[in-house]
């Protein structure tokens, strides 16, 4: 096995170990990167209807959604 392969395997094991973190901790990790994701996606040409990266109160309120819409889970 090459050093590169061993490095990949160690990294994969380290990444898999994160599944054992407490759920609230993992959610906080996701919250920490959400705004960066939104900003990156906004720079793409297909970026309509993305949620805001700014805190509530700093943007306009959109229209009230209808009850018949059936969004897929993210």
């Amino acid at each position: 096995m090459s050093d590169t392969q061993r490095t990949f395997e160690r990294q994969a094991a380290w990444q898999r170990a994160r599944k054992s973190l407490p759920w609230p901790e993992k959610i906080r990790m996701v919250e920490a990167i959400r705004d960066s994701i939104v900003l990156l996606r906004r720079s793409s040409p297909h970026s309509e209807n993305l949620p805001s990266a700014t805190p509530p109160g700093e943007r306009s309120v959109a229209s009230t959604p209808s009850s018949t819409q059936t969004p897929d889970p993210d």
Binding site: P24, I27, A62, S67
Partner: protein, 169 residues
């Protein structure tokens, strides 16, 4: 996310909703490595599911509580929360059989791994298939559990195709 749990629990307490359960990626993260997601998806049961504006009272309550619509969602702290009436036997059952997790001291109803997998199977996008594989790899659900649940919800063929494509190597 704690604020989301508190709001949903309060809506249950006052009767605006009868039950709820978090699903989608935020729920998946309970069982797998963290994955990027922009929204919190929540199944809800409402007292009057036949009214045309089925989520109207829920949105009214949220606005009265200081939470405002943002696109298709309601912004609660850092999260746009998308509420989905439990629209099918599968999602109703997923909500009814959800776990009550502890989120920093707040009870939070979360859809179980087996139901997350079968809901993903029913939606059938690439990222849903990725979710199923992540749940399987985490060991939080087995192929047999998914097969049984898929069978009960008329998704046996979809599961067979998934297994042929992704599991049988």
């Amino acid at each position: 996310m704690k604020e989301v749990a508190q709001l949903l629990n309060e809506m249950c307490r006052v009767g605006v909703i009868l039950d709820y359960a978090l699903y989608g990626a935020a729920a998946q993260i309970r069982y797998t490595e963290p994955v990027a997601t922009l929204d919190a998806d929540v199944l809800v049961a409402v007292p009057a599911p036949d009214r045309l504006d089925v989520l109207g009272p829920v949105f009214e309550f949220c606005m009265q509580s200081g939470y405002h619509p943002e696109g298709e969602a309601i912004r609660v702290g850092a999260w746009p929360v998308q509420l989905m009436p439990a629209y099918s036997p599968l999602t109703r059952e997923a909500m009814e059989r959800a776990d009550t997790a502890d989120f920093d001291g707040v009870p939070f109803r979360v859809v179980r791994a087996d139901y997350l997998a079968v809901i993903a199977l029913s939606v059938g996008r690439s990222k849903d298939y990725t979710r199923i594989l992540a749940l399987l790899e985490s060991g939080s659900v087995s192929r047999e559990q998914i097969a049984r649940l898929a069978q009960r919800h008329d998704l046996a063929e979809a599961w067979k195709r998934f297994e042929e494509r992704f599991c049988d190597e």
